[in-house]
């Protein structure tokens, strides 16, 4: 064996021995790396699993389809194009099974209640029995005749239920019911697997005939290959046939496989954003892990300084020391990231199984873990460990042989000089100004870069100044903690770099969490405001064809949860030669039901409000007058062009007294309702169905449109988003807390002789433990305070840059909760090291002082 390879073997043996000997001290680093690696694998594994599930589901839907006509993304298909194409294909000799798929939406009403147009359900036609039927039943059977319907996904409907259904035309925010209502009976439940188009909501399936009656439109034509003809030949012939005729030449014609792929690509486009966001969180977790690793190595190597000096004394070169410690980092990084990758695989399997069991509506199917995921995790974990350990290892290699003979240097490391802090402070401040300027100028991409740079400089500033900051926090807090707290402050000052690393790791977590909380809260407030401005009434109740009885206002007003009600009346008027529907509004009472503080466009007495288009049709303009004729009298009113909320296009609005003067045959056709309470609650749905019941019994076919439900949906979407993001950030926070506890433990081990001496002098176990806990408190208080301020600033700047007309709504209670939680987590992290400081035989450590 050559001398070189022998030396290398010795080094590797030494590295393993060291890694084993220090396993206890390295365990937190190992967990940090493992968590990061597990995160990588789980993120990619779960994404891949859901994509595979979607692909399987789509492939099943198009499995026997040779040709798809007219399914080109979201582009509308002309109403009769599918039928024309089918006729053409049949006449061209393509005799395989064919089906035209219809799609639409319906509002449903349980027997005797009003329609709920906010919760309209997507409706599809069911494929006829044959090769093209992909729908499978989970329960009951598929609809066989009009009047029968099947459901999929989570819904309140179950087999045997009867409902009234009415077609719905999609509106921007709320939908309008259209056409006749049909009674439907639920006969079965369809297994849709993981079709991304259905989302996680419920969906209805009925026969093609019934779907058409409910206003569903033809979306695509599917054709199977006929007997004795391949799918490719069928597609080829279909293409030629359709392109030869002008009426069908413009229709896209693709294979079933291609159609599935197109939908899949659209879905993947969505998931690409998700994957990118996941990568950011993965990077954050790994970055925090790197800080923990760097700190652990710095501390462990500092504690090993005598040993390293001894190695130097017996002839080890600085290079050999560097190599063997690097090898140690490689051993640690590769073993723990491999374990982490396994953990991630387990997690992915667990999620897939849990979804399969717990949420059968969104089955994920078998877990899919691309081999690249664990490979990336292990490589990234090892690389992060190596890179993070580089700086401490270089410092360790500089240890002088004499270090073996000297007692450990007990002098504190110097704090970073004020001038250096000032330099970074100025840089941080300048980049913060840069962030404000670029965000104000709507330069989003630049603002993001400036923001990241700004956070890096500020994090570095905190890292360098952390020991001064904890000392300042100590001055405020130490009145409470006496000698233990004072010692904690001094201990933190002894190792400014360690303190800095722990504080910054925690700072990253707190800042981002805060920014997300503030951003989401402002987004919620802003979106709610604009919703309220556009639709200022909580609930709009519209009568069926008969109108409401006169006492409807009192009946609704008497219901639970109803704050105020304004009735709107309708009548027929004539303007010149035009018949026109007019709505009478009791303007004085509108303010009682309106949610917005913006002025709502309403007609004042003597005025008539109408849209620009209607005015144009009547040859009127803003400020001109029109003469209105009713069955009672005529009136000349001034025209004001206005968007009256909830007014149908073509209708005009006027003051209720004016309408009553004109017409004696008005009826109450609409109610604006304000619910008590400012935000939707658990009670809201019950209150709404009570209103629906009352309205439905007062006027058959009445509709309830609740903007409050839209707000509720917005809330739940934002809450879901918040939960996911906070869950992802929690990994980073967990790693930071782990690092804090680890550094505390290592420092406490380092001080064990001092602790023993203090015990001899009469320090109680509690006092020693309290010192460690106070160190955690001082560090986490500094990290939390600075992180909250930074997070609030970033959150506000971020939401300002993305949204217009932001209403700032800082969620103080949540932030306070986060802050307390962060400090509490720090204290919990300190408990184990605190307990360990006080344990062990006093004598052994006293003996060690000799």
């Amino acid at each position: 064996m050559s001398a070189w390879s022998h030396a290398a073997v010795t080094q590797i043996r030494l590295a393993f021995a060291q890694a084993r000997a220090d396993a206890g001290r390295m365990i937190a680093s190992a967990i940090a790396v493992a968590l990061g690696a597990a995160f990588v694998v789980a993120a990619f594994g779960i994404t891949a699993t859901s994509e595979r599930a979607v692909l399987n589901s789509l492939a099943q839907q198009y499995s026997s389809t040779a040709v798809v006509v007219g399914a080109d993304g979201d582009a509308a298909v002309p109403a009769d194009a599918c039928q024309k194409a089918l006729t053409r294909l049949r006449s061209g000799g393509l005799v395989g099974a064919a089906v035209i798929d219809y799609g639409g939406a319906v509002a449903i009403a349980p027997a005797g209640q009003a329609f709920d147009t906010d919760n309209s359900l997507p409706l599809s036609s069911i494929s006829p029995a044959g090769p093209l039927r992909w729908e499978r039943v989970l329960a009951g059977r598929l609809p066989a005749r009009p009047g029968e319907v099947a459901v999929s996904g989570p819904s309140s409907l179950s087999v045997g239920d009867s409902v009234l259904a009415q077609g719905v035309a999609y509106g921007n925010v709320s939908d309008q019911a259209a056409g006749a209502a049909y009674p439907l009976r639920v006969v079965g439940v369809v297994d849709i697997q993981a079709d991304p188009r259905s989302g996680t909501g419920a969906r209805l399936y009925t026969t093609a005939r019934q779907a058409q009656l409910l206003g569903a439109a033809p979306g695509q034509l599917r054709l199977a290959a006929g007997a004795g003809m391949s799918e490719a030949a069928t597609l080829d012939r279909a293409r030629r046939l359709l392109s030869a005729t002008p009426a069908t030449a413009a229709l896209p014609v693709v294979s079933g496989e291609q159609a599935a792929k197109t939908i899949m690509d659209g879905y993947t486009g969505d998931t690409a954003g998700v994957t990118a966001a996941l990568l950011v969180f993965v990077a954050l977790a790994l970055l925090t892990a790197a800080m923990v690793i760097a700190n652990t190595f710095a501390v462990v190597l500092a504690q090993r300084v005598r040993e390293l000096g001894l190695l130097r004394c017996v002839g080890a070169t600085a290079k050999q020391i560097r190599r063997s410690t690097l090898a140690e980092a490689a051993v640690l990084g590769s073993i723990s990231s491999t374990l982490g990758a396994l953990l991630g695989v387990g997690l992915t399997v667990l999620v897939a199984v849990a979804f399969g069991r717990g949420v059968p509506e969104v089955p994920l199917g078998a877990p899919v873990i691309p081999i690249s995921a664990p490979a990336t995790a292990i490589l990234a974990g090892t690389a992060v460990t190596l890179v993070a350990s580089l700086v401490p290892i270089r410092a360790a290699a500089r240890v002088k042989p004499l270090a073996a003979l000297h007692p450990l240097d007990s002098a504190a490391d110097a704090d970073t000089s004020l001038s250096r802090l000032l330099l970074w402070g100025v840089l941080g401040l300048l980049s913060l100004v840069g962030l404000f300027v670029t965000a104000a100028a709507d330069q989003l991409a630049i603002a993001v870069i400036v923001g990241v740079f700004n956070f890096c400089t500020l994090a570095l500033l905190v890292r360098l100044g952390a020991s001064r900051l904890t000392a300042a926090a100590g001055r405020l807090l130490n009145r409470l903690g006496g000698i233990s707290a004072r010692l904690a402050t001094e201990n933190l000052r002894r190792h400014p770099r360690r303190t800095g690393a722990s504080v910054v790791a925690l700072l990253v977590g707190v800042t981002l969490t805060c920014a997300v909380l503030v951003g989401v809260s402002a987004a919620r407030a802003t979106a709610t405001d604009s919703l309220v401005d556009a639709y200022p009434f909580d609930v709009t109740v519209t009568a069926g064809s008969t109108g409401f009885p006169q006492d409807i206002r009192q009946r609704i007003q008497g219901l639970h949860g109803v704050d105020a009600v304004t009735p709107l009346t309708s009548g027929h008027l004539r303007v010149g030669g035009h018949e026109i529907d007019a709505v009478g509004i009791d303007v004085d009472t509108v303010s009682q039901v309106s949610r917005t503080d913006q002025s709502v466009d309403l007609p004042s007495p003597g005025h008539v409000a109408m849209s620009y288009e209607t005015a144009d049709e009547l040859n009127a303009g803003d400020g001109t007058t029109v003469r209105l004729s009713g069955d009672k009298s005529d009136l000349t009113l001034a025209v004001s062009i206005a968007q009256v909320p909830g007014l149908a296009a073509g209708d005009i609005a006027l003051d209720q007294t004016d309408l009553n003067t004109l017409s004696g045959r008005t009826s109450i056709t609409r109610l604006w309702v304000r619910l008590s309470g400012d935000s939707p609650s658990d009670q809201t749905q019950a209150d709404l169905s009570a209103i629906a019941k009352t309205a439905g019994s007062a006027s058959r076919g009445a509709e309830v449109t609740a903007n409050i439900s839209t707000r509720q949906t917005l809330d739940s979407v934002l809450n879901f988003l918040l939960t996911v993001v906070l869950g992802l950030l929690a990994v980073t926070g967990l790693i930071a807390i782990l690092g804090l506890g680890n550094t505390l433990a290592l420092s406490a081990i380092e001080r064990s002789q001092e602790s023993a001496m203090m015990r001899a002098l009469g320090a109680t176990r509690r006092q020693l433990a309290a010192t460690v806990v106070w160190e955690a408190i001082q560090q986490s208080v500094v990290a939390t305070a600075l992180g909250s301020v930074l997070g609030i600033v970033y959150g506000l700047v971020g939401v300002r840059a993305v949204l217009y007309g932001v209403r700032i709504d800082v969620p103080w209670p949540r932030l306070a909760l986060l802050g307390s939680f962060a400090v509490l987590a720090g204290v919990i992290a300190a408990l184990l090291p605190a307990w360990r400081t006080t344990g062990g035989a006093l004598m052994d450590r006293i003996a060690a002082t000799h």
Partner: protein
């Protein structure tokens, strides 16, 4: 019978008044089986108030174990230790900790001071741990006597070895303890600083009536003591009152017979 009991009680009361610490029948062994080592093998000792007593003996004679037992840092297997009327053996950790804090002072050979605190804070550390304030007059007195007035704001690494030991002595004295235990306090010092430390210890015994128990293997250091107890194999082999250095050497390092 009655009078004998009264006599016994009177003597015990007399003893407590006269002696700061009384140990009887101390036994302590470490390990078990073949590896068992008997460090103390029946030691009876009483330490008079206001005296500087030196405990000497070769390595392994049990002098450090004796000190640790007397100071409540280690528990003897058998025997009793009474400090100011309180039986030490059998006390729980909390009570023992408070006893050490309130009644004892310590000076060790090394690692005496907390590196993060300045000299003044190191001196008042036992008081801070107890939540007490130093008596201003006494603090100044101790600091003056130890010549530390201009060193109070220095951290340990800014002080010489002798200065560090003087800070440790000041810390031991500032609580006015029943007993100061000094474990090889001059072991790490050059002879000049060592002499100074020993003089200061003797002065505080003579001038302030401070009871001091000093463990040392240095006959010169022991020469400053009012009494020298020599241990060998866990037993008291000699007990000398105000001996000269020569006398100590004769007892503690007897020349082997030729």
């Amino acid at each position: 019978m009655k009078s004998a009991f009264r006599h016994h009680c009177a003597r015990a009361a007399d003893n407590t008044a006269e002696h700061a610490i009384i140990a009887g029948g101390l036994r302590r062994s470490y390990g078990s089986g073949d590896a068992a080592v008997t460090a103390l093998d029946g030691v009876d000792l009483a330490f008079r108030r206001g005296h500087l007593t030196a405990i000497m003996g070769p390595s392994g004679s049990g002098k450090s174990t004796l000190l640790h037992c007397l100071a409540g840092l280690d528990a003897p297997d058998e025997g009793s230790i009474v400090v100011g009327g309180t039986e030490l053996t059998g006390l729980r950790d909390g009570a023992l900790t408070r006893l050490r804090r309130d009644r004892f002072g310590f000076v060790f050979q090394a690692f005496n001071l907390l590196p993060v605190l300045d000299a003044a804070a190191n001196i008042t550390l036992p008081l801070d741990l107890a939540g007490r304030r130093p008596e201003p007059g006494w603090f100044d007195h101790v600091v003056d006597r130890l010549g530390l007035a201009d060193r109070l704001a220095h951290r340990p690494h800014e002080l010489s070895g002798g200065q560090q030991q003087r800070v440790a002595i000041a810390r031991a004295l500032v609580t006015r303890p029943d007993v100061v235990f000094a474990d090889e306090p001059t072991g790490n010092l050059d002879s000049r600083s060592g002499t100074e430390v020993l003089r200061l210890l003797r002065t505080s015994a003579r001038a302030d009536g401070q009871t001091i128990v000093l463990v040392t293997h240095d006959p010169v250091a022991a020469g400053y003591a009012d009494r020298v107890v020599v241990l060998g194999d866990g037993r008291v082999v000699a007990d000398l009152t105000a001996p000269t250095t020569e006398e100590i050497i004769a007892v503690a390092h007897p020349r082997r017979p030729a």
